[in-house]
C-alpha cells in the first residue's frame, strides 16, 4: 500500500503541491484529475522520486509498504529509490515517442529493466521481454524487439512503454496522461489494456489525467486537484454524480458532452430555416434544410497531392495522393466539423482550402477573401519576440502589401487591433505585452483575433481547443460561437475530440484514409451513423 501523507512540494519557495494526502490500495485505480498547473504531475513525479532536484519537500512524507521513501527536511535518498524505481513502482508517460530513447532498439530499452533489477542471463531476459510484449498485445514481437522507436506507431510505442512498466510486476504503476498523445481508437485500446493489467496483476495504479471522461471510465476512486490542493476525493460515481465542491462541479460542467444541449449558431442566424420545434429537426433532411442559405465555399472533387520527401533532383517525382475526390459545401455562418484519425488527410484538406498546397486537382470555389486559420498550439504559433499589438496588426500589414487598395494607415491598424483585442475579450493593457506573459487561453484568444482581423468569412480551426484545459476550452468555444454569430463566420472545425465537435458543429464530415466517408447534420451523425467507421469513432470516445 502506498501512502502520500500531507505532502507539500515547493520550487524556489513557491509551493506547487500543498498538503496532499492520497492512499493507494492494491488492485485499485486512483485517478488524479485537474487542469494544468494543478500539481498532479508534480505529486506523481515526487512519489516516483523523479521530481527535479530543485524541488523541496516542505511537509509530509511518502510511504511504500511502511517504508519511508521520502520525508520533509531530508534529502532524496537516491540509492533507496533506485531499488523501488522500476521494480516496485514504474511509470508510463504521456509521449511514448520522446519517452523512449530514439537511438536504442526498444527491446534493449525494456531489457534494461531486467538487467537493473534481476540476475537473469541474456537469453532468459530476451525470452521474458518477448513474453511481456505478447502480453501487452504486441504482434510480431521479434520484429518489435529489434525496432527503433521511430519505426513503431504511437500505439505500439505506448504498448512498449507499458511492457516496460509491467515486466517486473510492480506494486504501483503511475500512468501520467498515457493516452493523451494517441488517436481515439488507439486511446481506447490502451485504456482497456491498462484496466486488464490492473485486474490481472491486482496492483495499484495512479492514473493522472486532465480528461474527466477517461477518469470516469477507468478509475475506482478519483481525487480532484486544484492549485496544488486536493479539493475533493472519493468514489468515482460519487464524485461525478454528487460533486460536493463548487470547483468539481465547474470542472464536470465544462466537459463537453453529448448529453448536454447544443447551442447552434445556425439556428440563431437562420431561425426561419431551423426548426423551432426541436423534435422535428432530426427527421428533416439536412440537404433540404440548407437550401437558400448562401454558400461560402464549394469544394468539388478535390484531390490533394504531396511530393515524396525525396528532394534529390534526379529521382523521379512521385506524387502521393493524401485526399481523394472530396466534395462538400460550407454555408455561411455554419460550423462544419471535420473528424478522423491522425494521418487521414484532415490537415492536408484544410491546407488546400487555405491555398497552402498548390498540388491539387478539382475545384475550390470561395466566396470570401483569404480564409484564415486558428492553430492548435497557442504556445508555438505566436512569434515570442513580438508584442500582442504587433501580432494582431501583422495580418493587416500583410494584406496591405498584397493588395494596395486594402492598405491601411498605421493609426487605423492600431485602432483595428485594439478593437479586435476587445472582441476576443482582452483588455487594453495586453496590447504591449509579449506572448510569454499570457496564459494559454489568452494566447488562443490572440490567435483567434489574428485570424479574424482581416475579416475573412471562413476560418479553418485546426484543433483550436485541444491544447487547453477543460474550463478554458469551454470559454474559448463560447468565444468562437459568439464571434461566429456577430461576424457571420463559417468554421471548418477540425478536432479529434468528438464531444467538442458535437458542441461546436452544425454538420460533421468524417474522413478516413483520404476520403470523406460521411457527411451529415450533427444530430443525424450521432443518432444514426451510416458508416461502420463512424460508429467506431463515436463508440471510442
Amino acid at each position: 500500500m502506498i501512502k502520500i501523507e500531507n505532502l507539500s512540494v515547493a520550487f524556489e519557495g513557491t509551493e506547487v503541491v500543498k498538503n496532499v494526502t492520497l492512499e493507494l490500495k492494491d488492485g485499485e485505480i486512483l485517478g488524479v484529475v485537474g487542469e494544468s498547473g494543478s500539481g498532479k504531475s508534480v505529486t506523481a513525479l515526487t512519489m516516483m522520486g523523479l521530481v527535479s532536484e530543485t524541488a523541496q519537500i516542505t511537509s509530509g512524507r511518502i510511504l511504500f509498504d511502511d517504508v519511508v521513501l521520502r520525508e520533509a527536511g531530508k534529502p532524496l535518498d537516491k540509492a533507496l529509490y533506485r531499488k523501488y524505481q522500476g521494480a516496485e513502482m514504474s511509470m508510463v508517460f504521456q509521449e511514448p515517442m520522446t519517452s523512449l530513447n530514439p537511438t536504442l532498439r526498444v527491446g534493449k530499452q525494456v531489457e534494461e529493466m531486467l538487467r537493473l533489477h534481476t540476475d537473469l542471463t541474456g537469453e532468459e531476459i530476451r525470452t521474458r521481454v518477448l513474453e511481456t510484449f505478447e502480453a501487452v498485445g504486441l504482434k510480431k514481437v521479434k520484429e518489435v524487439y529489434a525496432s527503433y522507436p521511430h519505426q513503431l506507431s504511437g500505439g505500439m510505442r505506448q504498448r512498449v512503454m507499458i511492457a516496460m512498466a509491467v515486466i517486473l510486476h510492480p506494486d504501483l504503476i503511475v500512468a501520467d496522461e498515457p493516452t493523451t498523445a494517441l488517436d481515439v481508437t488507439i486511446q481506447n485500446q490502451i485504456m482497456e489494456l491498462l484496466r486488464e493489467i490492473n485486474e490481472k496483476e491486482q496492483n495499484a495504479m495512479l492514473f493522472i489525467t486532465h480528461d474527466l471522461n477517461l477518469a470516469r471510465r477507468i478509475c475506482h476512486r478519483v481525487a480532484v486537484m486544484k492549485d496544488g490542493c486536493v479539493v475533493e476525493q472519493g468514489r468515482t460515481a460519487d464524485i461525478f454524480e454528487h460533486p460536493k465542491e463548487e470547483y468539481t462541479r465547474k470542472l464536470i460542467e465544462a466537459v463537453p458532452s453529448r448529453l448536454k444541449k447544443r447551442v447552434s449558431v445556425m439556428e440563431r442566424l437562420y431561425p426561419e430555416r431551423y426548426g423551432e420545434k426541436p423534435g422535428e429537426k432530426n427527421e428533416e433532411n439536412s440537404e433540404e434544410r440548407e437550401k437558400g442559405i448562401p454558400k461560402i465555399a464549394a469544394v468539388r472533387d478535390l484531390s490533394v497531392y504531396y511530393r515524396d520527401g525525396n528532394r534529390n533532383p534526379f529521382s523521379k517525382k512521385k506524387q502521393h495522393c493524401v485526399v481523394e475526390g472530396a466534395s462538400f459545401d460550407i454555408y455561411k455562418g455554419e460550423s462544419l466539423g471535420l473528424v478522423g484519425e491522425s494521418g487521414c488527410g484532415k490537415t492536408s484538406l484544410s491546407k488546400a482550402i487555405l491555398g497552402m498546397n498548390p498540388l491539387i486537382s478539382g475545384e475550390i470555389k470561395l466566396e470570401t477573401i483569404r480564409p484564415q486559420m486558428i492553430f492548435q498550439d497557442p504556445y508555438s504559433s505566436l512569434n515570442p519576440t513580438k508584442t500582442i499589438g504587433w501580432l494582431l496588426e501583422e495580418p493587416l500589414r500583410a494584406v496591405g502589401k498584397l493588395d494596395e487598395s486594402l492598405a491601411m494607415t498605421a493609426e487605423d491598424r492600431r485602432a483595428a487591433a485594439y478593437d479586435m483585442l476587445h472582441k476576443v475579450g482582452l483588455e487594453d493593457k495586453y496590447f504591449g505585452r509579449k506572448p510569454s506573459q499570457l496564459s494559454g487561453g489568452q494566447r488562443q484568444r490572440i490567435s483567434i483575433g489574428q485570424a479574424l482581423i482581416t475579416g475573412p468569412g471562413l476560418i479553418v480551426a485546426d484543433e483550436p481547443v485541444s491544447a487547453l484545459d477543460v474550463t478554458i476550452q469551454a470559454q474559448i468555444m463560447e468565444l468562437m460561437q459568439k464571434l461566429q454569430e456577430e461576424m457571420q463566420l463559417s468554421y471548418l472545425f477540425i478536432s479529434h475530440d468528438i464531444n467538442v465537435v458535437y458542441k461546436m458543429c452544425d454538420r460533421i464530415m468524417v474522413m478516413k484514409e483520404g476520403k470523406i466517408v460521411e457527411i451529415g447534420g450533427t444530430e443525424e451523425i450521432f443518432s444514426n451513423p451510416r458508416q461502420e467507421y463512424t460508429k467506431t469513432l463515436l463508440k471510442n470516445s
Binding site: 516516483m48 514504474s90 508517460f93 523512449l100 530513447n101 537511438t103
Partner: protein, 324 residues
Amino acid sequence: MRYLGKKLFTLIITLFLVSVAAFLAFQIVPGDVVGSIVGEDASPEREQQVAEELGFMENGKKLSPAVRYTRWMKGVLQGDFGVSYRYSKSMNEQMPVKELIGDKLPVTLWLAVISMVFIILVSIPLGVVWARCNNKYLDAVLGVITQTAMAVPSFFLGIILTFVFGILLKAFVPGGYVSYKENFGGFIGYLVFPALAVAIPKIAMTARFLRNSMLTEMKSDYVRTAYSKGCSKRRVMYGHVLRNAMMPVVTFLGMIIAEIVAGSIVIEQVFGLPGVGRLLISSINTRDFPVVEILILYITFVVIFVYFLVDILYRIIDPRISEK
C-alpha cells in the same frame, strides 16, 4: 549503395565546378607569368621555350584557356598536376606540382592526425565529466579555462608552447624541424607541440559543445524514463545520453577535421613546418598558379570527403536518419 553512388556523383560535380572556377580565376589575374620567370633580359626564343613548357603556347601559337583547361584537366586525371612556375628542379626544368605537394602533404596530414587524436581523446571525456560534475566550483573553473583556451589566438598559443616546452622545459628544439624522411620519430616528436597548439582551442570548443549538448539531452523525456527504471546517473549518462548528445558534436568534429587537414597556416608558420598551409600562402604570394589550383582542388576534396564520412557516422549513431 544508392546512397554512396549519389554522394560520389555530388563529389565529382563539385570538384569539376571548383576546378573550372579555380582555373578561370587565375586566367583573369593580370601579370606576365613567363616574363617574370625568364627575366627581363631573356631572348624571345627563351621566352617562347618557357611559354611552351608551361603550356601557354604550342608551335608558336597562343592557346585558348579552354584548350589549356582541357589539357590541364586531362593531366590531373592522369596524375600529372603540371609544373610549378616558381620552383625549379634543376637549371632547365621546372618542379612538378605533384612532387612539390607530395613533399609537404605528409607534414600537414601527420599534424592533423596527431591533433585529432588529442582532440578526441581529451575533449570527449572532458565534456562528459564536465556535464556530470555537480561541483559548481569545478564547473566554473572549467568554464573559465575553456573560454580562455578558445579565445587565445593560435599563433600566441604557439608562441607560449614554444616558450614553455621549447625554451623552459627543453622538450623540443624550437625551429628544429626534423624531416620525416630523415628521422620519423624525431619528426613526430617535434609535431606534438604544434599539434597541441592546433588542438587546445578545438578541445575547449568541443568539450564545451559536448557538455551543453549533454545537458540539453538530460532534460529529454527519455532520460526521465531511464531514471524511472532505476538507472543511476552514471548509467543514464553513458547508456542513454552520450550517444544522443554526440550527434551535433560529430558534425562539429567533422568541421574541425576539414579545417586542420586543409592546413593550419598560422601554426605551420609559427613552428616552421613545411606544410601545405605555408605552401598555399607562398604560392599565392608568388603567383604560382598551378600549385594554387591543385591546392584548391585538394582542400575541396578534403572538405567534401570529411563531410561524407561525418554523414556515414551520423547514420551509424542515429537510426532515424537512414530511413528518411
